[in-house]
Amino acid sequence: MSTVTFRIFRGDRNGGELKDYTIEVQEGMVVLDAIHQIQAEQAPDLACRWNCKAGKCGSCGAEVNGKPTLMCMTRLDTIDTSKPVTVRPMKTFPVIRDLATDVKWNYEANKKIKPFTPAPNTDWIMFQEDVDRVQEFRKCIECFLCQNVCHVLREHDEKTGFIGPRLLVRTASLEMHPLDVENRLDMLKNEGGIGYCNITKCCTEVCPEHIHITDNAIIPLKERVVDEYYDPILGFFRRLFGSKKQAQTPSSGQAADD
């Protein structure tokens, strides 16, 4: 047992300040346990969003000592607790209160993505090797940590012309579904703003589900957009024979396979 000070943001949309809370911590505790202990004993109105406490729901994202993370998966023995531990809400989204942020923009931006559209009269036969990639993307728990660190959203607040890594991953999961026939390249190029991403991989670094967001989702989608709109030779044939949805295998095959 030892004593640790947590320096927690208290405030709302109009601003706030860091306040110190000192508690006794025990072996195995995670940051979320500390927040709960502070709520129960010292600050019953300390707002924090959480659901499962098992890294499966993605509700408790916050910035611990400046690092975006799920509080339920951050053990105190993996961070320096000899100094005060700073806990702040995700910066990219407006604060509701304390550690809870308003993430509804993600739900709105999501509506720009055309839903799953299966081929008519499909027999629903798919092989595991063809769904492996899509299953990687579908591991996403919508914690929005990738949206939080993406500099396009975080530094430039570009929330009208860009959908961010989470929604690019969702688009990839649909575009690379073996039986989907919808074309989302126009959306990606225009209101999706895939061109804003300059592949700094910050999103991949913070993903608690270890999804290779940049290499496996965004880069292949960028390639498809480039092929569709900027390749002069393909463009020539397209003018001759008309445009259609790209075949699945070529660009997903090119993706990094680590």
Partner: protein
Amino acid sequence: MESYTIHDYDVLVIGAGGAGLRAAIAAIEQGAKVGVVTKSLLGKAHTVMAEGGMAAAMGNVRPEDNWKVHFRDTLKGGGMLNNWKMVENYTKEAPDRVRELEQWGAVFDRTPDGRINQRNFGGHSYPRLAHVGDRTGLELIRTLQDHAVKMGIHAHMETTIYRLLTDAGRVVGALGFNRQTGDFLVFRAKAVVLATGGLGRIYQVTSNSWECTGDGFSLASMVGADLIDMEFIQFHPTGMVWPPSVMGILVTEGVRGEGGVLKNSEGRRFMFDNVPERYKGEFAETEEEAERWLQGDRNARRPPELLTRDVVARAIRKEVNEGRGSPHGGVFLDIASRRPADYIKKKLPSMYHQFMKLGNLDITKEPMEVGPTCHYVMGGVRVDPDTQATNVPGLYAAGEVAGGLHGANRLGGNSLSDLVVFGRRAGLAAAEYAAKQTGSYQVDEAQVRAYIAEALQPFNNPQGENPFALMKELRATMQKNAGIMREESELKAQLEILANLKKRAWNTSVSGSRAYNPGWHTALDMRLMVEISEAVVLAALARKESRGGHARLDYPDPDPTFAKINHIIRRKSDGTLTVVAEPLPEMPEELRKIAEAKDLKELSDKVGA
């Protein structure tokens, strides 16, 4: 005077987990105007935590499997206390509901010939669980979420329902508040579907997320709906036991389904010694036979680690009680020595990460330490098996909050398909009922005002108690006195404790603003949690036997007189709860033959395939 906004719907769905979303989709398809209320953000409901898979007799891996075998397995697991009509509806429809999810975009693991793969699970005679690694619940909820958004769902996120509203004995809506702002909302609706999930948070050690505070049971009971068999609480055999802050977090049964074995501190696979009479002859009798089963020998029987959850949970408790437990009070679950590291990481990725991250343990190298954790409630709001209608007009219930399907004990994998089968049925029936309601709807303003005043009372009560401390007391006492092993004296003591807690739940004090105030939320949750805890304890006192999820130390064996009754928990006109024993509905002869079949071959359409 406190203001509130009014929303009008044909169907109001309370809860946005698997059952709620499926109900909303079904009702929208009927043309109803549907509102969905969720305490959390969309897509975060407890359904995301379901790991192993969804049971449906599709026969993709073993063509011998069909609804009849699933029917028999479910009734057998439930100690024959299940509502047979619900089980029939469920087992017949589950495969269609799984295929429908695939057509809405779910991406299940595949068989070598490209169809939906199915895995083994406790209590299921054949590999039957459609799954996606160990994150099947996430796949289910995300698919339903996406499809509901496509259908134009109207969701009120982070909104808590405090009370159902009634008019002349019918449910006509609900009163709630937005958690983000603390503002009150009145929902006027012709029909209400409860899809609020379970009650695990009334126990100290639970796998349930914070939302599972039993709201739906209490809300329904307070407006006169019957509850059924609330004594049957499932303790999942394998929760994490170490470190203390993760106690209760689930370790999926998929670990055992993929070949994981349970051992005590002496290294003995103790489940071979714990096969109950009714399962004799169906499980491997030697480690050698279990090993052959793992290697795919179809003539070998399943290992006893795949017995039903009540059997495994009590066997673990016995090992611990008799001094053969692991260092932190559980037993060992070993997959490391059974499967290659790559296989484990592929089939059980969340488990691998969960133990690595929270327990600092590599499950591909070392065994896990596991013990029982409160996981599920088989009992719930009593519903019609075809329509999910409760006995209160206008009120429907589906998913974990509804009782009847699982009897005394639920088979793993039977809840995810329960959600979609009965979520759909509830949504359809509620929309049909709503369409028939042509008269005027009155929400009683005085009723609304009184509830709002009640809900705000903790802010005006500076001398009241800390709601968090009260909640801790409730959970600790329920764990001790009404937990996995029960006896009369403790249950009676718990009733007194609950009477006391009930008074104190109305005398809490909270500070700060109403915006996103967890102290206030906890104070209001407590009021509903004491109500449902009382129903659990009363039903447990009445059932003087051990069966399924309900184990009595003072009555350790099943008693035939209790084999043919359900417990109905009913609110009397003075507001107190009473337990009434009611005979089981009579099962038709042809179903009884299926339920009691000894030989699986009799039930198989394709023998020896």
